[in-house]
């Protein structure tokens, strides 16, 4: 059967459907096909029928009837064509079986509901998608074969946090085997999406034997858009063959390309690469070179830079110290602060120690503006803080004496190297410290810095929430005298943090808390007051009494809701206080203006009454 002729007829009919059957009259293309069909029709009746249909379509007739004829011919033709569809594979199958993808560990065990949720999240827009993807990744759902294409698609997700999550977490979890897939889908003229893709490639590394992927990378590095070029070049650092190219690119006219090339050279770390990087560092590309070194701080490179830094810091500069000369000086120093961010090197430790101990030996630092000076010095102080050595401690304490802004560094090291009592004595307890307390401006600044440092220590950030350290840690690591010191300085938040059951029914703390409860301005700090009560080792009577006092001190006319925390505390009172508490609460609520508060309070009162009654019947 002549499928080509039928297919041709199908194309003509499709054209007529689009143009309208009214134009079919005397259609010369149909007229040309018709005799061929008729000829074939002598052997196969189906062609005869089609020939008749086509003839009827083109001959003069009413418009509506012509439309009906088009429909009929098309119906017949479609039925015939449906039995003629080609199925055999077009080209040669001789090259045999599919290659091993290296991703054979992927499963197909998850159900539609599990997968569809994630697939929808990654192919639509709208809220709540990030959490779904996050949870799916945590539950290992991305090990399912069917989510792999969606993980790749996540690179171009309009919500950049999601795309970044795919770059950092999801895609690297498949391992380097996905590099060929990532590169195969690359659009070298693309933008941010392709940059992300290449970031993953860079993190995973390209196999040196994978010539196809390397070729793709080189093509992207040579012909891609600026962003893609930079990102692709940065991936080539591990491959020695490209060293010459990298050096060439590091001299390119376009800045992003130079940046990419420098990043790759820092990874490369060969003699030539280091020479070029050093050249860039002392030349006009100082900052990009510094960033490249920051990302990949190699020992050999650091050894060349540290003496240079020392030299520049210790140079004597003559002349006016105006803004222009300050800026010029900072330009020569800033790249070092960038390059050394992640660096660890004994020489660097020596230099920083000397810088902190003998600042006067480095006059260049003194000529900088305050904020820039701070950057140089805090980098050194931070480095020393992490070494935890006695020398560092002495140097940092000296620095702290000179400039109170550096107190936290010395404080952290002291806390790690000394006993809690020693820490307290140095910062709060010693005679001198007490004597100086709050007298001079400098002492005041020192105190507020100390309190700030304390706050960072005892309220550690967890995500976005600051949490109090657990009480066993407070008891073990903090001198009990801090509590009294903080009460004297009236910092409720820190008092509640350091309250510990070392001194049962601590009278000073109790008095302080009573004062806080009676202060009407403290309405919003109930959380800290009761936290201190809970942690301070008070007996139930005291706690109960203070809670009731707190409730009674409230201005019931003005409150709009009962805090959940307060309601819980009331409900959790020991049984023996329950009925008395109810009696004391009841008169209070008559003053409220809102029905909802009244109801809530009544519910609490009833619950307390029930408990009270139960407790009584039990005894």
């Amino acid at each position: 059967m002549s499928t080509t002729l039928l297919q041709e007829l199908q194309g003509e009919l499709r054209r007529l459907y689009i143009a309208g059957s009214d134009l079919a009259a005397d259609d010369f293309r149909l007229n040309r096909i018709q005799p061929k069909l008729a000829q074939l029709g002598e052997r196969a009746p189906v062609f005869q029928k089609l020939a008749e249909g086509v003839a009827a379509l083109t001959e003069p007739s009413e418009a509506e009837a012509r439309a009906a004829r088009l429909q009929d011919v098309s119906l017949l033709l479609n039925s015939v064509l449906s039995t003629q569809g080609a199925t055999a594979a077009g080209s040669d199958l001789s090259n045999g079986n599919a290659e091993d993808s290296g991703l054979t560990g992927l499963t197909t065990v998850h159900s539609y509901r599990q997968l569809a949720e994630v697939q929808n999240a990654l192919s639509t827009s709208g809220g709540g998608r990030y959490e779904i993807v996050l949870e799916a990744h945590r539950n290992g759902l991305f090990r399912d074969l069917r989510l792999f294409p969606f993980a790749m698609k996540a690179l171009s997700d309009p919500y950049s946090e999601l795309a970044d999550y795919a770059v950092r977490q999801i895609l690297p979890s498949y391992g380097p085997v996905i590099v060929p897939y990532l590169l195969a889908d690359m659009n070298i003229q693309g933008g941010r999406e392709e940059e992300r893709r290449l970031e993953v490639v860079r993190a995973l590394g390209v196999d040196s034997d994978d010539q196809k992927s390397l070729n793709l990378l080189v093509r992207a590095a040579e012909e891609g858009s600026d962003k893609v070029r930079a990102a692709a070049i940065a991936c080539l650092g591990l491959h020695p063959d490209f060293e010459d190219k990298l050096i060439e690119w590091s001299l390119d006219k376009k800045k992003p390309v130079r940046e990419g090339a420098l990043a790759a050279l820092a990874v490369r770390n060969s003699e030539t690469a280091r020479d070029r990087l050093y050249e860039a560092f002392v030349g006009k590309d100082a900052l990009p070179a510094a960033q490249a070194i920051e990302a990949s701080p190699k020992e050999e490179m650091l050894e060349r830079l540290i003496p240079l830094y020392e030299e520049r810091l210790s140079q004597e500069i003559l002349g006016d110290n105006d803004q222009k000369s300050k800026d010029k000086l900072w330009k020569t120093l800033e790249p070092f602060t960038v390059a050394f961010r992640q660096a660890r090197h004994p020489e660097l430790e020596r230099l920083f120690l000397d810088l902190i101990s003998n600042e006067s030996k480095y006059p260049a630092v003194g000529r900088l503006d305050f904020s820039e000076n701070l950057r140089v010095m805090s980098q050194a102080a931070k480095y020393l803080e992490n070494t935890n050595t006695e020398e560092a401690l002495i140097a940092l304490q000296g620095l702290e004496e000179r400039e109170v802004a550096y107190l936290p560094y010395a404080f952290h090291v002291t806390k790690r190297l000394r006993t809690p009592a020693e820490l307290y004595e140095r910062y709060a307890g010693s005679g001198i410290a007490l004597l100086r307390a709050a007298v001079t401006k400098k002492a005041q600044a020192r105190q507020s810095k100390l309190i700030e440092t304390l706050r960072d220590e005892v309220y550690a950030y967890e995500g976005y929430v600051r949490n109090r350290l657990p009480s066993d840690k407070i008891i073990a690591e903090w001198d009990p005298r801090w509590l009294s010191w903080l009460i004297d300085r009236d910092d409720l938040q820190l008092v509640s943090a350091l309250a510990a059951p070392t001194n049962p029914n601590n009278p000073k703390l109790l008095k302080y808390l009573e004062r806080q409860i009676d202060k009407s301005s403290n309405n919003y700090y109930g959380y800290y007051i009761f936290l201190a009560l809970d942690e301070g080792g008070f007996d139930e009577e005291t706690k109960y009494e203070l809670l009731m006092r707190w409730m009674e001190n409230k201005d019931w006319k003005k409150i709009y809701s009962i805090y959940h925390d307060e309601a819980q505390r009331l409900l959790q009172l020991p049984d023996r206080f329950a009925s008395e508490a109810a009696d004391r609460l009841e008169p209070l609520i008559t003053e409220t203006r809102f029905e909802s508060i009244k109801e809530e309070a009544l519910e609490i009162i009833h619950a307390l009454r029930r408990r009270g009654a139960e407790a009584e019947s039990n005894t």
Partner: protein, 479 residues
């Protein structure tokens, strides 16, 4: 004793969120009371909620294939998260205390038992049937007349569109078609309503070229439907006593929704059947304004591929159970078969799951067609009929799945015949590219469940793999 697995409970849940919330209740220890009846066929308990009193819920397994969940929470989902949580708690092996069945449940059980009894008696003829269904002949006649008129109307609008040409179609045409579709619906031609709306959607499509190809096909389909529908309705008009045609799909095209009783009367019921799901997917059918959950199941022993279809109207999505992939064998006492072609629709009410065993895997291999040309021939035979299902699904045996030089995949059978694999327009997702990711050993000597579709513009019969089966491995490429 009651056997419950987490996957079975998942399949009972109305949607993924309910299952998750149910699990959450167990994790958060919200159940204050867990009881099981002496016979072990009822679990009940109390679950604390945000209110003062606890929710009292129970799941009754007195008929194991159709567990009944009861709860005094206000949720409209059945089972609600409390009942699901109760089952998860049981499956997790938490301790359930033995207790007597609460009174309200035993009375409900009694009532249900009585209902079953009368139903059984009616069926066996002991009691007279409830009410012989009376057919209002005049109303039926009127309905048929209305349907015929609507068909004429439909023909007119289709022909006018053909005359003017698809190229001139614009937003206004689309609106007219949609308005007309609505009128068809009110003239008892809901099947035609959906197809006309589908045409309107194709004309709205962004990619106009492929839109034209499918719109042309849709126009010829409407033509076939008008013709066949008219002749069918005319014979029905002459003989109103005629029972619905239970052999062809024309009733469904006209918009008839088969009731189980009708199918039973037509003898379309198989008893004690075992089905194994091989593929599943859900898609949004904008023309029907419904989600369609489709499952393809192999009838074990018989070797036929059936289809289950569940429609969830967009408006009712919140209250309907979303189906899910099902990995066990479903043991079904009564399987209702709809009229249709190779993968006729089936329905069942309630089933008991059982683990897939070796014999089942052998059954899959045995059911798969050995020769590609034979399978293709059967597919083409069905596609010849314009009103038949356009996307039949077939289980095929493959000696291997090979990749051609230009990267496309093809099935190769024992005799060396090849079948090119591609992607079907009707499916929500391509699966063929995934073949490059699966374990290569899976691509040899396997059975492949594939969906076929004839693509007019290419002149090709395209097959898309849905699932690969080899030995005891089942790799679902779709869901």
């Amino acid at each position: 004793m009651l056997e419950l697995t987490a996957s079975h409970i998942d399949s009972l849940a109305p949607n993924a969120a309910a299952a998750k919330n149910g699990r959450g209740l167990v994790l958060k220890n919200k159940f204050v009371k867990l009881n099981v009846s002496e016979e072990g066929d009822l679990i009940f308990g109390e679950c604390s909620g945000s209110g003062k009193s606890n929710y009292i819920c129970s799941v009754d397994f007195v008929t194991p294939e159709n567990p009944v969940s009861r709860c005094n929470c206000p949720s409209r989902q059945f089972p609600c998260k409390h009942a699901l949580g109760l089952m998860y708690a049981y499956a997790d092996g938490l301790t359930f205390e033995k207790a007597t069945v609460p009174e309200d449940i035993s009375s409900k059980r009694e009532k249900a038992g009585k209902r079953e009894e009368t139903k059984a008696k009616r069926e066996s003829g002991e009691l007279p049937p409830a009410k012989p269904k009376k057919v209002n002949k005049t109303a039926l006649k009127k309905k048929i007349v209305q349907q015929l008129e609507a068909l004429d109307e439909l023909e007119k609008i289709v022909l006018s569109l053909v005359r003017g040409g698809l190229g001139t179609a614009n937003a206004r045409t689309v609106k007219d078609l949609n308005d007309h579709a609505k009128r068809l619906g009110s003239s008892y031609l809901t099947g035609a309503e959906n197809e006309l709306r589908r045409l309107a959607l194709l004309l709205e499509q962004d990619d106009r070229e492929s839109g034209y190809t499918y719109a042309t096909e849709q126009l010829t389909l409407l033509n076939a439907f008008i013709k066949k529908g008219r002749s069918y309705l005319q014979t029905k008009q002459e003989d109103p006593e005629l029972v619905p045609d239970s052999e062809s799909t024309i009733e469904e095209w006209l918009g008839h929704a088969w009731q189980l009783a009708e199918l039973k009367e037509a003898g379309r019921v198989s008893e004690s059947v075992e089905l194994l799901q091989l593929a599943f997917y859900t898609y949004r059918d904008e023309a029907r304004k419904e989600f369609v959950d489709t499952g393809f199941w192999l009838q074990l022993g018989e070797g036929k591929i059936h289809r289950t279809v569940q429609y969830r109207p967009f408006k009712a999505v919140k209250y309907m159970k979303e189906e899910d992939s099902f990995f066990s064998v479903a043991q079904i006492s009564e399987l209702y078969r709809y009229p249709g072609g190779m993968n006729a629709r089936v329905r069942f009410e309630g089933m008991i799951p059982r683990q897939v065993n070796n014999a089942d895997y052998d059954g899959i291999r045995a059911a798969a067609a050995a020769s590609i040309p034979d399978a293709v021939k059967a597919v083409k035979n069905q596609l010849k009929d314009p009103l038949a299902d356009r996307a039949p699904v077939v289980l095929l045996n493959a000696a291997r799945i090979a990749q051609t030089e230009n990267g496309t995949f093809a099935l190769v059978d024992e005799a060396g015949n090849t079948l090119e694999l591609g992607n079907v327009y009707r499916l929500p997702q391509p699966t063929t590219p995934l073949l490059s990711l699966v374990d290569p050993s899976l691509l040899e000597n396997c059975a492949v469940l594939a969906m076929f579709e004839h693509q007019m513009d290419m002149g090709k019969l395209v097959a898309q793999p849905l699932t690969l089966i080899q030995g005891e491995r089942i790799a679902r490429l779709l869901y």
